[in-house]
Each structure stands twice: as structure tokens, then as C-alpha cells.
């Protein structure tokens, strides 16, 4: 793995007037941004050929900072916008940046259908277990019992396992890691980019300023430490007893397989119709 220097990252950032960024100190979003850019740099992708699409949320603010073709779309709709872009320009590398609320609440429908179609794009989902942008309401991944501004008595709403959701819907590359495991995150993102089909990388992240504060999780470094201790490699996790598994999660690549991709199938259809015409 060639080392990408910190300076090289600057080649991929926009220096117009977009900095300082909007994220709070200690937020994991910047870590994910760094991992994403290093993955792109390592793969040597051309900036002109990348389109980064996001929805709405703190996480979805990412595209404005990067020097690619960038689209900050509507809340929940990033995958639908990305679908239109990819169909029209299949040669482009389509990256979707989204949050837990963006992708699995308001955008849940587009998320599962993107996975079902197996349309070629990489979804990087920053899961901070909360609606950060709107000040800390519960999301479909807020753990049971947790406090948010709309669960003042503790959350009673069960959680989505986002990777299972993607697997069930038919995604062909599904991985989970955390913002603490940044080298792993970079490697998963890289593999997802190189995968043909719908790929998802869920990155468990820290929102220390809202989620952390409301739930007494400590500062950003305490939250990082918790990711290190509680999000375990698949094999290590499976070895635990049911009791030990409580409060823990798996990280790793859950699936990496090949299945017909939507646009390739469509191109075959176009070709067969043209061949038919040619024969006539």
C-alpha cells in the first residue's frame, strides 16, 4: 500500500472559501473524509471522473469540501440522484456520502432499491446514531434506552442493523468499520470503490457534541476508545457468548460477491435491440 502523505490530501480539497468546515471539534466526519480521499489517491482516480453525491445532514456536508463533481442533494435522496447520474454517465465513479437518518429513515426506500438493483456506486454511510444536523433527535440506529432531544425518557424504538438491511436488499459489497479503525476504513472504502455493483461501507462514528453529551459518553477520545473496545472483528465477535455480545458489534466485510449490475444489463439490452435492428 503506497503511503499517501498528509499534504497530498490537499490536492483533493477545495480551497475556495469553504473552510473552516462546519463540523464540531471531535466529530468523526473529518476522519471519514480523510479516509475517503486517501483511498481515492491510492487508486489514482482522476478528480474529473469522480462525482460525490450526498443528502442532508452533518455528514452530507462533505461534498462541498472536495474538488470533484459534487452534488449536495435533498434529505434522503442522494442514492436516487446518484442513480440518475450513473445511468447517464456510467464511466464516472459515483460516491454517495450519507448519514444514518439520511439513508435509513427518510431515504430508506432509495437505499434498499439501490441495493436491489445492484447499481454500481459506493455508499459511505456515517452512522453516528443520531440526527446531528437538526440538534440531536433519535434516528433508526439510536440504541435502545438512549437519550436524544425527542426521546427525553429514553429510546423505545428498535434499531436497524444497516449492514443486514443492505445484505437483505441485495447489496454485493457490504462492510462495517469505525472511525477509530481508520486504516481499515480506508481499506474497505478502497475495496468498495473497486467493486462492481452496489457497495456499502458503514462507518460507526462519533458525534461527541450532541449524541455523546446527551448520553454521557465522554469526549471524542472516550467515544473512540469505546469503538475500539466494542466493535470487534467478525471472528472475535462470533467467539463471544450471547451475554458477552451485548452492547458489542461486528466489523469486517460481510459480503463481497458479483451479481449482474443494473447498467451493464441495460447496455446489453440496448445492444441486443441494435443487433436485432441490424439484422432486419
Amino acid at each position: 500500500m503506497p503511503k499517501i502523505s498528509q499534504k497530498a490530501i490537499h490536492k483533493f480539497l477545495r480551497h475556495d472559501k469553504n473552510f473552516p468546515h462546519v463540523w464540531c471539534p471531535g466529530c468523526s466526519n473529518g476522519i471519514v473524509l480523510g479516509a475517503t480521499i486517501r483511498a481515492i489517491a491510492e487508486l489514482g482516480y482522476k478528480k474529473d471522473n469522480i462525482v460525490m453525491v450526498s443528502g442532508i445532514g452533518c455528514s452530507s456536508r462533505m461534498p462541498v469540501y472536495v474538488d470533484f463533481n459534487t452534488l449536495h442533494s435533498l434529505h434522503g435522496r442522494a442514492i436516487a440522484y446518484a442513480t440518475g447520474i450513473k445511468i447517464v454517465k456510467p464511466e464516472m465513479k459515483v460516491i454517495v456520502i450519507t448519514g444514518d437518518g439520511d439513508a435509513t429513515a427518510i431515504g430508506g426506500n432509495h437505499f434498499i432499491h439501490g441495493a436491489r438493483r445492484n447499481i454500481d456506486m459506493t455508499v459511505i454511510l456515517i452512522n453516528n446514531n443520531i440526527y446531528g444536523m437538526t440538534g440531536g433527535q433519535y434516528s433508526p440506529t439510536t440504541p435502545y434506552g438512549d437519550r436524544t432531544t425527542t426521546t427525553p425518557y429514553g429510546n423505545i424504538d428498535p434499531v436497524f442493523d444497516i449492514c443486514n438491511l443492505a445484505l437483505g436488499a441485495g447489496a454485493t459489497f457490504v462492510a462495517r468499520t469505525t472511525a477509530f479503525h481508520v486504516i481499515e476504513a480506508q481499506s474497505f472504502i478502497k475495496q468498495a470503490f473497486e467493486h462492481k455493483g452496489f457497495s456499502l461501507v458503514e462507518i460507526i462514528s462519533a458525534c461527541p457534541v450532541i449524541y455523546g453529551r446527551l448520553n454521557k459518553k465522554g469526549d471524542a477520545s472516550a467515544m473512540m476508545k469505546s469503538m475500539k473496545e466494542n466493535v470487534l472483528p467478525i471472528k472475535a465477535f462470533e467467539k463471544l457468548s450471547d451475554k458477552q455480545k451485548k452492547g458489542k458489534q461486528k466489523r469486517g466485510i460481510f459480503v463481497n460477491k458479483i451479481r449482474p449490475e443494473f447498467i451493464e444489463e441495460y447496455d446489453k439490452l440496448i445492444k441486443s435491440l441494435q443487433d436485432e435492428k441490424g439484422r432486419k
Binding site: D48, T83, I85, V88, K89, Q274
Partner: protein, 392 residues
């Protein structure tokens, strides 16, 4: 574009309104369609699904109308000419996306084949109750370009025009139709492809460092780069500056809002189309659009045979509202009859314009005569004729 397409060959052909819309859009160069089926618009999606892959274009049935509008905006940003079609409930779902297309100045066409509402309403009956929604449906201030034909031939022509205007003025253009117009069959004289005026967005020629996706002066041409052409611009639904980056500065926001307004205002003559029928010597005028204007025309002919001086003013572009033409043609009329398949949406706008000429009291005394129907039935020529006799 291939000429041996499977839709009926070029010449005089019998076709349905919805087919004419699809045919017009294909001739105008629409090469990506995303949609979700809904009566009475579904034939449009069906035709695109059949025709586009044969022409190297692409069709996708999305998971809902929100996804459909999102996909066509994305597709347009990537460089395609795009369209979706829907009706009432789906049109409501598309509103946030339509606002996004206007905000980001991304060309696309949304067809709304109107049916009765509110809610699921009357799927198989005509209505004209989305006239105001087509103008004001998305939140926030932003002008709208909305076209509404009254025949199958015109459905074909205005479909081409809708695509052209979207490309020219970089906005979401709405093409209205209604259940009857969408499903009725009439003969259409298809022009030769070479005779059709097709407008495509102008590409920037300046170096990427100088490129501004939203420059200050919205004078035509308004060059627009697509994703993947080396310009690497940013697009957001947030209020933005000339380069597309989010801004909170009042000056930049005012400039952006002004741009949306001005780019339509400057070109109002190009955008507004209106038909005047026997208006020169008319004492009474009928102001009507779409399917209802057909009945109005028949009523005018019947009344003229009986020596009644009545005419019809029919906008083909209903938004921006043809204020100028309305003042010019209707200002001196004894009475204006406004038949429409809703509870007075067109007449409300007419009153706004006429308010400057006639005061409210005069208006009340019979000068604007409203004729409404919202039960799924059409207004008949006879009903309009009777109204003409009453106001005479």
C-alpha cells in the same frame, strides 16, 4: 436519432395525447426518463420504456415519484435531456425535487396529466385543479414555466417546447395535460425531424478556473457544464453564490433570487404563447385553457352564428401568467367568462391582473363570470353557450 422507430411513421397519424407527449419529447432529444406509474399518465412511461433503449437512451422505473424526480435531475446534471410524467398524488410528491431543480437551475421536464383531487381523487377523470400547484407547489419563491396544450397535436408541439425551454432557461418546466386530453385520439401531422427546432443547453467554452455555474447576469445563452466535463462544479439546494457554494450573505442571496426571476422576466416574450380567437371585435371574452378551451371554442362558434360578439383568449403558457396579453385583450370587455375544471384557480389569477383595471366592486357586478366544475365531468359547449347568453 433513428428514424425507423416503432411508433407510427412520420406523416399524418392517429395518436393519443399521452403518446404525443412522449413522441414530442423523444423528437426533442429526451434520452433519459425516470418515472413511477400513475393513471392517467402511465402510457408516457410505457412508451419511453419501449422506445428509449431502441435509440440508445435509458429508461428506469424508480421506487416512487420522489426518486423519479431525483433521478432525472441527477441525469440532467450528468448531461442528459430528461423527463418524468405523473399525476396528482405523484405531482405532490415531486414538489421538493421541482424546487431543487429550480434552485440548482437544472433543466428537466415534469409532465402532470391532471386528474381529480384532492388526494387519490378521481384517477380516471379529468381536472384542471393543479393550475396553482404547478405555479406555487414547491416551497419558496421561484418562478415557474408551465405549458398546457388543448389538442393531441399541441401536446406533441408543447412537449418539444417544454424540453427546449428547460434547456434554454435552465429550469424545471412543467407540462400540464389532463385525463381526457391524455387519452383521446386525434390526428397529428408529424413534421419532418429536420424541420423541428431543437434547443440544447449551451456548453461553456471558458477554462474551468473561470467557470461559474450561476453567473450574475442571466442573459441567454446561459452556459451549463455537465458532470464529468472537467469543470468540477458544486451543486446544492442551499442558497449559493455564483460558483454554487453555500452562502448566508444577504447580498449573494438576493442576487441568486433575482437571477431566478430575471431569467424568466427578460424572456417573457419568448416564453409566453397565447391564442386569440375572434377577439378583435368581441364584446364578451372567454378566458380558458386546455381541454375546457375546446368547449369554449365551440361555444364561441355557436354564439357567433347567432351574431353574438364573443371571442376566446387561450394561453398555451399559463405560467408565467400572460399579464400583458390579458390586459391588452380583456381590459375593455363587457364580461369575461372563465370556465374551468376546478374551483376558480385561473379566475383568481385573472382577478389579480384585472384588479389593476377594474376595481373589486365592478368585478363583482358580473364582469368576471366564473364557471366551475370539479366533479370529474367536462364543461360542455352548451353550458358555456348558455353563460354567454346570460351575460350578453
Amino acid at each position: 436519432m433513428s428514424k425507423n422507430n416503432t411508433l407510427k411513421k412520420r406523416k399524418t397519424v392517429l395518436m393519443q395525447g399521452n403518446e404525443a407527449i412522449a413522441r414530442g419529447a423523444l423528437d426533442a432529444g429526451v434520452n433519459f426518463y425516470a418515472g413511477y406509474p400513475i393513471t392517467p399518465s402511465t402510457e408516457i412511461a410505457e412508451i419511453f420504456s419501449y422506445e428509449l433503449p431502441r435509440r440508445g437512451g435509458k429508461f428506469i422505473q424508480m421506487e416512487d415519484e420522489i426518486a423519479s424526480i431525483s433521478a432525472i435531475i441527477g441525469g440532467s446534471l450528468a448531461g442528459a435531456k430528461t423527463m418524468t410524467a405523473t399525476s396528482g398524488p405523484g405531482f405532490s410528491l415531486m414538489m421538493e425535487g421541482i424546487g431543487f431543480a429550480k434552485m440548482t437551475e437544472t433543466p428537466c421536464v415534469v409532465v402532470n396529466v391532471m386528474r381529480g383531487g384532492p388526494s387519490t381523487g378521481l384517477p380516471t377523470k379529468p381536472s384542471q385543479s393543479d393550475i396553482m400547484q404547478a405555479r406555487w407547489g414547491n416551497h419558496g419563491d421561484a418562478p415557474a414555466i408551465v405549458l398546457y396544450p388543448n389538442s393531441v397535436m399541441e401536446s406533441y408541439e408543447l412537449s418539444i417546447r417544454a424540453v427546449n425551454l428547460a434547456e434554454k432557461y435552465r429550469t424545471c418546466v412543467i407540462l400540464l395535460s389532463d385525463e381526457v386530453l391524455g387519452h383521446m385520439r386525434e390526428t397529428v401531422n408529424l413534421p419532418d425531424l429536420s424541420k423541428i427546432k431543437i434547443i440544447s443547453r449551451i456548453k461553456p467554452t471558458i477554462p474551468p478556473e473561470w467557470y461559474k455555474h450561476f453567473p450574475e447576469n442571466p442573459k441567454y445563452p446561459m452556459p451549463m457544464a455537465s458532470f464529468g466535463e472537467g469543470y468540477r462544479f458544486h451543486v446544492t439546494g442551499l442558497s449559493h453564490d455564483e460558483k454554487g457554494f453555500p452562502t448566508n450573505k444577504a447580498k449573494e442571496i438576493s442576487r441568486m433570487m433575482e437571477r431566478f426571476r430575471k431569467k424568466i422576466e427578460y424572456y417573457i416574450k419568448d416564453i409566453v404563447q397565447i391564442e386569440s380567437f375572434f377577439m378583435e371585435d368581441a364584446k364578451i371574452a372567454i378566458f380558458s385553457v386546455g381541454i375546457t378551451a375546446r368547449a369554449a371554442k365551440e361555444a364561441v362558434m355557436k354564439a357567433r352564428k347567432r351574431g353574438i360578439k364573443v371571442g376566446l383568449l387561450r394561453p398555451l403558457t399559463i405560467w408565467p401568467f400572460p399579464d400583458g396579453a390579458v390586459k391588452k385583450y380583456l381590459g375593455d370587455k363587457k364580461a369575461i367568462i372563465v370556465p374551468e375544471l376546478n374551483e376558480g384557480q385561473l379566475s383568481l389569477e385573472l382577478k389579480r391582473v384585472m384588479g389593476g383595471i377594474w376595481n373589486y366592486e365592478i368585478r363583482k357586478t358580473k364582469n368576471i363570470v366564473e364557471l366551475h366544475k370539479n366533479s370529474g365531468e367536462l364543461i360542455t359547449p352548451e353550458e358555456i353557450f348558455q353563460t354567454i347568453r346570460e351575460v350578453k
